[in-house]
Amino acid sequence: MSELLKLESGRKLAALVAIWMALVLAPFWMPPLGGYTALGTRVLVLGLAAMSVNFLLGFTGVLSFGHAAWFGIGAYGCGMILKFIALSTPLGILAGTLAGGLAGAVLGALLVRRRGIYFAMVTIAFGQVFYYIAFQWSSVTGGDDGLRPFYRQPLHLGVATVDILNDATAFYYFVLVCFALAVAAMAFILRSPFGRTMLAIRENERRARFLGIPVELHIWIAFTLSCFFMAYAGSLYALVNNFADPRGLHYSQSGDFVMMAVMGGMRSFWGPLLGAIVFVVFQDYVSSVTINWQIFIGFLFVLVVLFFPRGLLGFLQQRRRA
């Protein structure tokens, strides 16, 4: 390995340590800066969702505009377990993840021959189907009012019980552990031979095909994995709010996730998390000043796309190389 590569991987390690330190210590440094722990929890969950969208967008080159559907199905799945079936947080997460992931796997099989804008359009259409089911089927989903009441349940860890319902810091660490598991799984997949075939498809589908990669199958697998991650994030989101909202499945929610990914930098692994931080903190701050906060986030988005086409993190990385 050349000196340059050694330096590069040393920097990467340092950045990784810095990111995890910041996340682990967030409940301590956020309040002095005017934040609060629950805001950090929201950032983690929405950041995970944006990273799941980017798993497909940034690393396979496939844009889904309906990913909120899997997010929302995860939330409803988790909520329904807690409301109707069993008072168990892990079971809720498991059920929500499976429900959204499997729904994604089935519909993904119908999608994989579409490309580009056509793929995006069909994902919007599928997503809206689920949105209207959640919106209309009031007896099961609570309709427009959303699914409630249900509450995340204390975790029984054998030796101790952690009260994640009332202790915001304990809940933050619980979500951080869940986040870390998913992010580690994503990183692991992207470093595998299969992950490299995803990059190959992103870079040049024709070349990938003529290397002998069955492109449709690999896009389907990447899509399905991404849906599972998305539904997992959605399950956690239901726990964050103790509530599942039909608007969580709406295409505008999908758009928010894509916006976070693009703003943060879709070619970088951590970019979408940065995008989610900017988005959520900005939303939290501006929405306390005006109800028209979306105008300002839209304006910010346009600025980022115009001046930092590779996203905020992409811009920082490029400047360091130059």
Partner: protein
Amino acid sequence: MSLLEVNGASKNFGSLVAVREVSLKVEKGELRAIIGPNGAGKTTFFNLISGFFPPTSGTVVFDGQDVTGLSVAKRVALGMARTFQITEIFPELTVFENVRIATEVAAGYRLRPWLGRAEAADLRRRVEGTLALAALSGKADRLVGELAHGDQRAAEIAMALALKPHLLLLDEPTAGMGDQETYEMTQLIRRLHREGNLTIVLIEHDMRVVFNLADRIMVLDQGSFLAEGTPQEIAANKAVQTAYLGQAA
């Protein structure tokens, strides 16, 4: 038995007949060139062989097996690899990664979640071997998109070689190259053919390259077969001269 046998292959796009009942037999170890004026249907013919699209009629037999209805992935698995007229590579990945992906797919690792230590080491050796063959060892850590045109072409060929093909299809390997790059590419193809004992079919416009390399030449004109023979026979062929230069006054 011929390695590649195309029997009366045609391709229509609507009412346009791009390739009309062209047949071709390529023996193991042969280096065959396909030439013809622009629009002769050479690349379309390549696309029929490599499975880019199916022929309207006719069959393609590879290594004794009818592959006419097989997917690209299956043809690649049987040992067919190709390059394109416009270089098709993974521009934002390094040369090493480009060739590594091809090598992993050829090794059957494409769905693997991880590689064992021994597998990874063996794979690395194979990638380095392929890079050396294509004279790219010194550029392994460079992004392919940042290389000179000639090196990008070499990288594309390296990816095809990593598939361990029995038949290599090269679509205008020297297109857009200067004299020095053309010379190096010719040397590379000759090495692959002579030392690697690889069967090669290439489309080429540069006649110096064709007459330097080819054992036999097939000429297409306006989608149809025009002539076939050794370079000397083709050079002396009146019909070929007419196709290229127009009717003598």
